[in-house]
Subunit: 618 residues, 2 copies
Amino acid sequence: MVQNNSLSTHKLPFQQLAQVPFTQVFIEDKFWSARMKALQKTTLKACLTQCEQTGRISNFAKAAGLMDGEFEGIFYNDSDVYKVLEGIAYSLMNEPDAELEAEADKVIDFIAAAQEEDGYLQTYFTLAEPDKKWTDMNKHEEYCAGHLIEAAIAYYQATGKRKLLDAAIKLADHIDALFGPNKRHWVSGHQEIELALVKLYLETKEERYWKLAYWFLEERGHGHGVGYSWDRADWGAAYSQDHLPVREMSTVTGHAVRAVYMYAGMTDVAALTGDEGYLGALDRLWDNVVNKNMYITGGIGPSKDNEGFTSDYDLPNQSAYCETCASVAMILWNHRMNLLHGDSKYADIVEREMYNGALAGVSLSGDKFFYVNPLETDGSHHRVEWYNCSCCPTQIARFIPSIGNYVYAVNERQIVINQYIAGIGSLQVGNEGVTLKQETNFPWDGTVTIRVEESGETPYDLLLRIPSWCKNFTLKVDGEAQTHPSMHNGYVKLCRAWKAGMEIELVLEMPVQKVYAHPLVIENTGKVALQRGPIVYCIEEMDNAAAYEQTIVSPHTRFQAVFEPNLLEGVVTLYAVGGSPTDTFQAIPYYTWDNRDSGKMRVWLPEAKVEAALYEIQ
Amino acid sequence: MVQNNSLSTHKLPFQQLAQVPFTQVFIEDKFWSARMKALQKTTLKACLTQCEQTGRISNFAKAAGLMDGEFEGIFYNDSDVYKVLEGIAYSLMNEPDAELEAEADKVIDFIAAAQEEDGYLQTYFTLAEPDKKWTDMNKHEEYCAGHLIEAAIAYYQATGKRKLLDAAIKLADHIDALFGPNKRHWVSGHQEIELALVKLYLETKEERYWKLAYWFLEERGHGHGVGYSWDRADWGAAYSQDHLPVREMSTVTGHAVRAVYMYAGMTDVAALTGDEGYLGALDRLWDNVVNKNMYITGGIGPSKDNEGFTSDYDLPNQSAYCETCASVAMILWNHRMNLLHGDSKYADIVEREMYNGALAGVSLSGDKFFYVNPLETDGSHHRVEWYNCSCCPTQIARFIPSIGNYVYAVNERQIVINQYIAGIGSLQVGNEGVTLKQETNFPWDGTVTIRVEESGETPYDLLLRIPSWCKNFTLKVDGEAQTHPSMHNGYVKLCRAWKAGMEIELVLEMPVQKVYAHPLVIENTGKVALQRGPIVYCIEEMDNAAAYEQTIVSPHTRFQAVFEPNLLEGVVTLYAVGGSPTDTFQAIPYYTWDNRDSGKMRVWLPEAKVEAALYEIQ
């Protein structure tokens, strides 16, 4: 494994935990390796092909003067190319692929060539409106820059190649020269640059990058915003999260992806500065989105109109917008919150998104995508091969191979296991190296074996996340039941002088669970959703043709959870066994819907309740 | 195995299912064999010794003129001796014991010798008030007769010896000569004779016995009752279930054991006659007791004052009376309701009582007993070796070895498996013999293997009860998942041409479940009980000394269910793991409480709730 970035394993000043980057985590997991393989073999190539066919790549060649022609597509299309490159970078870590790397290098050559002398890089303006650069805050120039920076760092970490990183640094310096204290005002119309600049600081140790990120955040809420988004009377500044200084925000507003990218950037800045205004705002915003504005799948942003938030508890099922991008954004933010606070509740959200809202964004075959992820459909909603605005396909393309980032976190004397994904983690605790090997069939089975493969002399703690859905578990160390483990922020904490060969067995029980929505989510009144482990289930018409519309969960309904290797590439499917045709049905994981014949789907099922029983079992 | 009673495998005219008696069910079960062994080796001998030391046995010798002396003890004490003999009979089926049988024979000789010429048999009246026979309806003469009949039939079925049966028949004929249409009125002050007379009919095929049982039931509610119970102004006729004709009853009243013995007798008569008045009343009474008047342990009768029922939802924990006898009575009644209707909901109650309310009645050592079974104590309530009124010790002594009666039921084309207890059932389906072998570690583990050891040519159905607590199960036949089994009255129904060697694997998932009481059970407001499989748990002070009084279940509490072979003869104990000392505790099965150092105990624990979450997992 390549390991170029030593800084990223260091804790930021106000973080409880340090990031363990994907470069140090090798994934060899029945569930995720299959998804990563589909991603590398199909999705990334499909995205590259689409980027070629839609002019997204040739826009760079044109801007570089290497070929003739006008700009094609939408002004922010460069970002899709960057995101595909970022996905390629992550995927090369787990599975080297010379052909794919060569193709990426070729694209990178175009990108570097397209960069202007002063560092400017956005092919739309270079080709179509060279005089209008940095005049409209909604034209995503800094958004594209952010994605370039993220792609460049990932590609450098994965391959050691600096060409894209150098271009990114040059562009960052260009932006840093234009904007900042006593320079021009700029309210980013599509946040992304903030978290990217912090990443660039971590890679380069140049403090001015994170300070510029801080500045970008502080620009908001002072009336500096100008552009299309601000002018729409029905949206106003709240759409762009520019209605208040960020430290004064308490409720989520506007475009969901932009909002959550911003919260992620705020979390980075809080981790660097300890800014109490940011810490307070983040806690309030997190509570507001997670406890009042999130679908059970982790989806956020119910409205198609603003691609974003509406009002608390407004979570309609059929018209749910729930961009795939927004679910991935929730992962980016919650991962940072986990590092900041060391609390497992944020990793619970990462898990919820990983196995549901985000993963649903790509077909099992890897070449079809959802932009919008409703929780119910009349049969008219389907994955497609590409979108004019293809942020979501390229978002999932960069997310899936990056999951190594979310497995572990560390500090001077603790290793935190946030996600149960089989493979090997090469970790550093204090000054000593520790290698852990996870074996598991998660999420289908809750048994996880963690073996210490290498360890130093100094004792340290191993913290294992007990997911919020898990009400029952058993824990053994070297075969011995740990009946009195201490719980700490949702983790069981095992303090030992760990030695190579020691083994932990954690069994997370996974009954089918009924989930009820808050009574103010009026569309789910009288309805129940089914979950097993982290997986949210849905029913599809094709499995339940006889009584699809009448399907209910009744007090008599019992569930058989059966792993079927030949169904949907191998899933645990739920057979509901009731006393009548209506409460006898089959449910599949939500993330696998619309992978077979098209038809109706729903997550929330009506529930037939009896009169209050003397004893209600939960 | 002895098999004397062919009638008892035949369905009564209005039954869905026929009884499979204990004589055809060999128990070899980790859980129950240990309890049965303690019963045989300790409990039965302890009861015999107590009966000897308290004059209960010598009363018979005195009445027979074989020794001098006055009647000792309470007027109904004969019944305890009969119940011990019944227990010995059942226990000899699973584990022959020549010494025990010889002792029983000796006692039987006394009993037979004590019987008067005309068949009368109650040593109290023979010795103390020979002129007052059959003058006070509250003196339990027909109650004792009922227990003699039950003991006699069991002893005959187990050993083939008729002496006690002949005495029982002679007594039944004596009663039949005195009472019945156009003879004397008699309202039984402690019901029991009714179900016993039906048993005697099944054994002898003499129809007049069940008709006399019917007559006894019909006597009630017409103002014929006379005696102490009726005269107490604060009780009235409702105490004796004599306030209404039985067919008009809808709510449970009065003395719990007497009431439920009566319901059992009514169920027998309904199974023989199809009397719609009885069928309706039984449904109403069952609903009233199970859905409004039963503790989570299956205990019934909250009040010490009347040893019985009060008002709906009045279920206090500390002052809960819950006689052990009443829990066993619930088993007798619910078993009959199961045979009558073929519905598993009655077998669910049998299970609830078997593993909780009834089983708590005897110590693990087998020589200490609870009469009263509260759900919470300040540390003052303990098992003792004997009571002046020792109905409960002798009740548990006859119940535990009889559990073979509750495992299977059959009809012309179905075998029903009601209880998961390892061992061998020799069954008759239509005209063919079927042998089933169950293997399981129930109730600690939900995996049950059922192998067909012998089978005939004709296809039949196997019905497996899915307990009401079980929300998740898997089912295989010969290794093949049965994903679409049909459910019928709470059973999965497997229709096959069963052949020797075929094997069913049923896995009943057993997470720790939180149970909430109906809001009208005011004492349990804000409280939760813990259950795993059929086992209700409690906390004892000795396991939780540090924070016993502060113990709560919080939203952070997770559970580890751990089998500990050296704890309480081997139990699954629950380790609650929370974030603080108050939500970190250990719970043990309710039936095992007060088997170690004495102290406080409670079943219902306060629950710390958070604000309504966006998604509530159940």
